[in-house]
């Protein structure tokens, strides 16, 4: 049995879950929010650890979602994980935020899981693209998280009999509005508030047995927006040796 601290700040929620080796119980706190994760996360960790009765120097490992997410959200969670890991030389296990959501969906589906071959979590990533991940019905990764065009994501959605959720799911219906066989996209709207947002408690399902991450860097899946300077250089008679040579 391990003492494990888990948290997520990738999208529109901030959540912390602590597993106590002593009691075997899980203590959680979660708040839906679009902004303010950086201010809320550490006090939330402090409260949850206290409520769980677990001290930092008794932790065995950290579990954290590393992305995809908002760039800042993914970095806030990873920076906190890096700090705690650095403070007590703790191993860190990382999860995709989309896998975390898939697990929540599987729990909520209950007996209905038998109707599907997998869960597709789709997050609207704007610019005609979606973050997509497919898991099996145990919540384990089938297709690694990826940033796909809406067209490619539609192909994925039709590849299996999938249960789909997330803000990108409505984009996956056909142009005529037809749903691919078995694909359910309207479910999140009828589901308990916030099921399409990650919840750190689902990381605790297998955090104890997962292999710790080697590189603790966020999973952005998208390059930074930056274009090299396009202004033409001045006409020169003689070239100075380049300053950066």
């Amino acid at each position: 049995m391990m003492n494990i601290l888990a948290f997520d700040t990738c999208f529109d929620a901030c959540s912390v879950a602590v597993h106590s080796a002593e009691t075997g119980g899980i203590t959680t706190e979660r708040e839906l929010m679009r902004r303010g994760h950086a201010e809320v996360l550490l006090p939330m960790i402090e409260r949850t650890m206290k409520a769980a009765g677990v001290a930092f120097d008794r932790l065995d490992r950290i579990a954290v979602t590393h992305g995809p997410g908002t760039f800042t959200g993914a970095r806030v969670g990873m920076s906190a994980a890096l700090g705690a890991s650095f403070a007590h030389a703790l191993p860190v296990v990382t999860y995709s935020s989309l896998q975390c959501v898939a697990r929540a969906a599987i729990e909520a589906l209950g007996d209905e899981v038998t109707h599907f071959e997998g869960v597709l979590v789709a997050r609207d990533a704007k610019r005609d693209s979606v973050f997509v991940e497919v898991t099996d019905m145990a919540g384990d990764e089938l297709d690694a998280p990826a940033l796909l065009s809406v067209a490619d994501a539609r192909q994925v959605a039709r590849s299996r009999r999938l249960f789909a959720l997330g803000s990108g799911a409505p984009l996956l219906a056909g142009d005529d509005g037809a749903q691919p066989g078995g694909l359910t996209t309207d479910w999140p709207a009828q589901s308990p508030l916030g099921i399409a947002e990650p919840d750190a408690r689902f990381l605790l399902q297998d955090a104890a047995s997962r292999t710790p991450a080697q590189a603790l860097v966020p999973l952005y899946l998208r390059a930074p927006d930056a274009t090299p300077s396009s202004r033409l250089p001045l006409a020169r008679l003689v070239n100075l040796p380049a300053a950066d040579a």
Binding site: A38, L41, F56, R75, A87, A226, P228, S229, P233
Partner: protein
């Protein structure tokens, strides 16, 4: 204590009675990620107010930003998180210490690029929580302002000239935590003007050293560039027009050769020096009036542009003419670093109750002097306002 520097007692000593100063030596870990340097340091502050740097690890990211001719915020934030843990490990190792021996964790909370600030601040918060240590959220400008206390044992009051890539201001440092901003840039920071000039002339990035090297054999009088705000009674700075003048002249001189580039950059530096000296002269006069000290109020110069030799010697010459000391901390402590953050944290820690809990926000904009009125009419936004 440097022998040349007169030590002037602050007139605001009555504030100190309310504080409960800590008696023991303090070991502080400082984390800086506000722009394009990832930096962590360990600094010790002794009860007599002196300090020592036990480690000061800085990793610059300029290689990653060079293709863009300036700092790209998202690239900066990504680069910080990739190395922050390694830099922190190295800082502890070099200082031959461990987190359990640290008394306080200090991190830059602003002003700066928000993505990077969040990395360092969240990392520091997490360490503070995990080891139950106090966290101090540091204003980056305050850290620059207090560096001379660490390096030269200079105590307030003094006039600070801060010239860097993100900031250009004059600040009357009355005491730790007691600042009055006198002048500030109404457009570009001075370091920005150097970067942009370098970019116009394809000299590379970062622009400061590139412009300085190019200007070495140039004629500073060949081009009569404007001396922005010279003679104006508001003590502010402006460099956007100067940069534009350099661009226009460079375009007019096309095709340009090495000598023209040398003359353009030398003339640019000459204009910068004249403008800065004029502005500092005014700020110093105002500062002296404000504190009512007729005697020498030292001028302290910090920020990356303090490395520029022409500006340095101009400031030294000016200080001599008004018979005040001009103090330049070592260049490595003028540019962004963790030691100055740790030191500012130590100065705060030594004075009792700390600002900055686990819910502290990073602030892109955070004037050192919160009571300072905005510089009206400049249309200025962001950290420079």
């Amino acid at each position: 204590m440097t022998s040349s520097a007169p030590i002037i007692q602050s007139p605001k000593t009555e504030c100190k009675a309310e504080r409960q100063p800590r008696k023991a030596a303090a070991l502080v870990l400082g984390v800086e990620t506000s722009c394009d340097e990832t930096a962590v340091a360990v600094v010790k502050r002794l009860p007599d107010g002196s300090g020592a740097i036990l480690s000061n690890v800085v990793r610059s990211q300029w290689e990653q930003h060079r293709p863009f001719g300036g700092v790209v915020p998202e690239i900066a934030a990504r680069a910080h998180i990739e190395c922050i843990s390694d830099i922190a490990s190295e800082a502890l190792k070099t200082a031959n210490t461990q987190l359990t021996d640290i008394d306080c964790i200090a991190a830059t909370a602003g002003p700066g690029l928000i993505g990077g600030l969040l990395v360092g601040l969240t990392f520091a918060k997490s360490i503070a929580l995990a080891h139950d240590k106090p966290l101090v959220a540091i204003n980056h400008l305050e850290a620059h302002a207090l560096t001379v206390g660490l390096t030269d044992s200079i105590r307030p009051p003094y006039l600070l000239l801060l010239v860097s890539g993100g900031h250009t201001q004059t600040v009357l440092v009355r005491d730790v935590a007691d600042y009055h901003r006198i002048g500030s840039t109404i457009d570009d920071a001075l370091g920005e003007a150097f970067d942009k000039t370098a970019k116009i002339l394809s000299l590379g990035f970062p622009g400061g050293p590139a412009v300085e090297a190019a200007a070495l054999n140039g004629d500073p009088q060949r081009f009569a560039f404007p001396r922005p705000l010279q003679g104006r009674k508001e003590p502010h700075f402006s460099f956007a027009g100067l940069k534009t003048a350099v661009r226009r002249e460079a375009e007019r001189q096309q095709p340009i050769n090495d000598q023209t580039i040398a003359d353009l950059t030398a003339s640019f530096e000459a204009a910068v020096c004249d403008s800065v000296i004029d502005r500092v002269k005014l700020a110093h006069r105002m500062a002296v009036v404000e504190i009512g000290e007729p005697d020498a109020l030292p001028i302290v110069v910090s920020g990356g542009v303090a490395a520029n030799k022409r500006l340095r010697s101009a400031l030294e010459k000016f200080a001599t003419t008004i018979d005040v000391p001009a103090i330049f901390p070592p260049i490595s402590l003028c540019t962004d670093n963790g030691a100055m953050i740790a030191w500012a944290g130590a100065e705060r820690f030594a004075r009792g109750p700390l600002a900055g809990g686990l819910d502290t926000s990073a602030r892109a904009r955070w004037p050192l002097d919160e009571s300072a009125a905005p510089i009206i009419g400049t249309g200025k936004h962001g950290p420079k306002a």
